[in-house]
């Protein structure tokens, strides 16, 4: 048999074909993301769900209406595209001109809602969609067998991608689009309806995602989660290619598919991680992305600021709040199940640590589950396998999160704003893949029955009350430490950078150093929370590193009030309370969480405590 580099040629070609197919999906999705971002400055987090909708709509057309694949290719993207037009008109329009993170959070909420609804009706298992008869079969080209459908997917995606590229780069309409990207006011003065242009652009981007979904339906099973992983990979592709160029998105998408396919032939165990590794390499060598332009500080100068109402910070009030917190901690186990209270404390600490970054440094990380999870796993492993004492295992877990925070931060802080969120999400997904693959994590089972041990050789933590005292004390000390950091001279600098980065630079502050410090501190406390959680539940599982946990901590912070210090604690209580007491609603909880996201972003950006703070005119 013919071999190339020790791999049989048919296998190599087979993986190359798979790579090209995946590349076609990556290219189509990141193209849609790039078009939407280029004009609306929104990272469309609903993109994965819109891809899933494309597949589902074509499945429904076939099963409910008997409309076949050929018509679906046109009808499904149109239907989903129109839903995109409505979404833009009704929701996204309202947050135009606000900070970019709100667009990401709003579309994330929409994604949760849609996905939750589909999970309710169709479950997580897949629906089959047969390859249409006119595309079944294949050709034998001697060295390998080429299935017709796969060739079709590669060809039609390439045609659609190139067609879109041509329409944007070479036509009059495209020049309007590019003009609106540079300077919407000027275009408006030429008599062009810019709002309509924005709406249509969003619709086209969404339609592209749905088109990819239709193509995917006969290859992958049609299920509500089919877009999750793909979306995160598309984000990584965008970070690699840089948002600046439409052609760049297409080329990078196909290239990454091929790289992934070839890795599967040579080092199968790396194939899932390779795109993320490429992303890390690009972040190190050319942080702006292969086709990207440098993001200029100039844009920061004129960045619009939402009107801020600031109130004075009465320290006596905060002293009383801390005192009240202590009283609550003492009283809580008498009214609530102690394990549940400890869960609240872990998540409260996690949310506070997260808000150190989002609320007080202005950085949106979408990868905080990685820190929580790695600490959780390393705590569990060191306590169970190495037999470390609980204090030793807590230190190991927390330090691992700090170290990972240093690496992530160093890589991701090179990218500003919205890229930062995508880069952290992609990096955390790499950790998730590692956790799935590495034997010590126990895969789907996680690490179970982690011994609680005896603290300092004196206090037996198997006693729930002793454990509660330990968790409560660590919680209080950590919250106070974060509070102190935020109100320290360094905290002032972080606040200044958040308020006005360009001005901080012009005063001689090297902003990335301060942001990196905040990032590592935030990761460290997030890790401590994760380790504590593993101690309490005697369990470390894949859920601790999953991106949905990162989404949850964002929700807690947003709901509680990201401009406040104590808000995330309230947010954690509400979100966990909701999950705990609405358990009977099943998947509807996801829908409710999505709704809360959408409502918070649209009308309630100050959050619960932020609104209260404005009422009483005091910082909380």
């Amino acid at each position: 048999m013919t071999e190339l580099f020790g791999i049989p040629l048919p296998i190599l070609l087979g993986q190359l074909l798979v790579g090209l197919i995946n590349g076609a999906f990556y290219a189509t999705l990141s193209l849609g993301l790039a078009i939407i971002f280029g004009l609306l400055r929104i990272i469309n987090f609903a993109h994965g769900v819109q891809y899933m909708l494309g597949a589902f709509v074509s499945w429904m057309l076939l099963n409910y209406l008997g409309i076949g694949y050929g018509w679906s290719l046109i009808i499904a993207p149109l239907i989903v595209g129109v839903s995109g037009l409505v979404l833009e008109r009704v929701l996204l329009r309202r947050i135009h001109g606000l900070d970019h993170i709100y667009g990401l959070l709003l579309t994330f909420g929409v994604a949760l809602i849609v996905q939750g609804i589909f999970r309710n009706f169709y479950g997580a298992s897949g629906q089959a969609y047969a390859i249409p008869s006119w595309l079944s079969g294949g050709f034998n080209i001697g060295v390998m067998y080429l299935p017709a459908y796969r060739v079709w997917v590669i060809a039609i995606s390439a045609i659609v991608c190139i067609g879109t590229w041509f329409a944007i780069e070479k036509t009059r309409l495209g020049s309007y689009l590019r003009g609106a990207n540079e300077n919407p006011e000027i275009l408006e003065s030429f008599g062009i309806n810019v709002p309509l242009l924005l709406t249509l652009t969003y619709g086209v981007g969404v339609g592209l995602a749905a088109f990819a979904g239709v193509l995917a339906a006969p290859i992958y099973s049609v299920n509500p989660n089919m877009g999750d992983n793909l979306l995160i990979i598309a984000f990584a592709v965008v970070v690699i290619g840089g948002m600046g160029s439409i052609g760049g998105a297409i080329v990078t998408g196909f290239a990454m598919g091929v790289v992934e396919g070839l890795t599967k032939a040579f080092y199968p165990e790396f194939s899932e991680a390779v795109i993320f590794l490429v992303m890390i390499l690009v972040l190190m060598v050319k942080p702006t992305g292969v086709f990207g332009r440098a993001e200029s500080l100039i844009e920061q100068i004129s960045a619009p600021h939402e009107t801020v109402r600031v109130s004075r910070q009465p320290r006596f009030l905060h002293g009383w709040i801390f005192l009240g917190l202590i009283v609550l901690l003492i009283a809580a186990p008498f009214f609530l199940y102690p394990i549940f209270v400890m869960k609240l404390l872990c998540f409260g600490l996690f949310a506070c640590a997260f808000n150190l970054l989002l609320g007080h440094s202005g950085l949106l990380s979408f990868g905080h589950a990685a820190f929580y999870g790695i600490a959780s796993f390393l705590f569990a492993h060191s306590a169970k396998v190495w037999g470390l004492s609980p204090e030793g295992a807590l230190i190991v877990g927390t330090l691992s999160a700090a170290l990972l925070g240093l690496v992530f931060g160093w890589l991701a802080i090179k990218r500003r704003g919205i890229y930062f969120a995508m880069a952290t999400l992609a990096l955390s997904q790499l950790i998730y893949f590692l956790a799935v693959r590495m034997p010590f994590t126990g895969g789907e089972d996680g690490i179970q029955s982690v011994p609680r041990g005896v603290l300092l050789g004196i206090f037996d933590l198997n006693d729930d009350s002793t454990l509660y005292v330990l968790v409560a004390v660590i919680f209080l000390a950590s919250i106070f430490a974060i509070y102190r950091l935020i109100n320290s001279p360094l905290g002032q600098v972080l606040q200044a950078i958040k308020d006005n980065e360009a001005r901080a630079v012009s005063l001689g502050y090297k902003v990335t150093r301060y942001q990196l410090f905040a990032f590592v501190a935030s990761a460290t406390f997030a890790g401590l929370a994760g380790a504590l959680n593993a101690l309490v539940f005697q369990l470390a599982s894949l859920a601790d590193v999953h991106w949905s946990l990162s989404g949850e901590v964002i929700l807690m912070t947003l709901l509680g009030g990201m401009g406040t210090f104590f808000g995330p604690l309230i947010g954690a209580i509400v979100v966990l309370g909701m999950e705990n007491y609405l358990l009977f609603l099943g998947e509807w909880v996801t829908v409710i969480q999505g709704l809360v996201f959408v409502i918070c972003v649209l009308v309630f950006r100050s959050g619960l405590l932020g609104t209260l703070a404005q009422q009483i005119k005091m910082k909380l």
Binding site: P489, Q492, D499, A504, V505, L507
Partner: protein, 252 residues
């Protein structure tokens, strides 16, 4: 020559083929107040962003104190004691007026990586900060949130923050733009006081203010140096008059 503090050679910035700044040679003498004027779109602000490294020039060189700083980062320029202000009022909106100045003083005096102490311990700097606020007439509003100030007062705060860095070279981008008549005079007065013992490069639309402050004036037009000299020379230069005729210099 050492009495040139800031110098550019053939400084050029092009945006997609259009030269916003086109081969500018500029020399700012140590201890002088140097004004950069010109009709709208002359490239003054771009020039400013180049000098403070907020933009990287397409070609040409920049020298500060005899050293080539063309490839330096903006924060490093600031650490060389070259501090700029912005055309739009640039303050830290959620912090108090006093904290705005303190955060600048903190940079100069060090200790900005201190995370374990209360920010109240910055009190030792407070006296100096209050002095600066008095200088710009903001001492009574020291504890107010900065975003509650009027536009003119925000600009005054920005100036106080700039002065807090004790810059050897101040670059002021239209410090009186958008101000009412009274604030303009007050600010001009303030700048002329602050300029003592310093070098100032100023972009300004308000010609009376330029006449009052500037020792030397460079006129830019379409990215190029049109004329240079003192106010008398420049204002009588026919090419300058021609460049301004029919030009609508927006800011009232």
């Amino acid at each position: 020559m050492n009495d040139i503090l800031l110098k550019t050679e053939n400084l050029t910035m092009s945006f997609g083929g259009f030269n916003a700044v086109d081969g500018v040679d500029l020399a700012v003498e140590r201890g002088s107040v140097h004004a950069l004027i010109g009709p709208n779109g002359a490239g003054k602000t771009t020039c400013f962003n180049l000098l403070t490294k907020f933009l990287s020039p397409t070609s040409g060189r920049i020298y500060h104190d005899g050293r080539d700083v063309t490839r330096m980062e903006p924060a490093e320029m600031a650490q060389r004691n070259l501090i700029r202000s912005f055309q739009i009022s640039s303050i830290f909106a959620t912090m108090t007026v006093l904290e705005n100045v303190l955060v600048a003083l903190q940079r100069r005096h060090g200790g900005s990586f201190v995370f374990w102490r209360r920010s109240r311990n910055l009190r030792q700097l407070e006296q100096e900060a209050m002095g600066l606020l008095e200088l710009v007439g903001l001492e009574d509003q020291a504890r107010e949130p900065a975003c509650s100030l009027s536009y003119g007062r925000k600009r005054a705060l920005e100036l106080a923050t700039t002065l807090a860095m004790d810059p050897s070279l101040m670059l002021l981008d239209e410090p009186t733009s958008g101000m009412g008549h009274e604030d303009v005079e007050r600010t001009a007065e303030l700048i002329s006081r602050a300029a003592e013992g310093r070098t100032v490069l100023i972009v300004e639309h308000n010609l009376p203010v330029v006449a009052k402050l500037a020792d030397r004036i460079t006129v830019l037009c379409r990215g190029q140096v049109l004329a240079e000299g003192d106010y008398e020379t420049v204002s009588n230069d026919p090419t300058v008059i021609k460049a301004y005729v029919g030009e609508d210099h927006d800011e009232h």
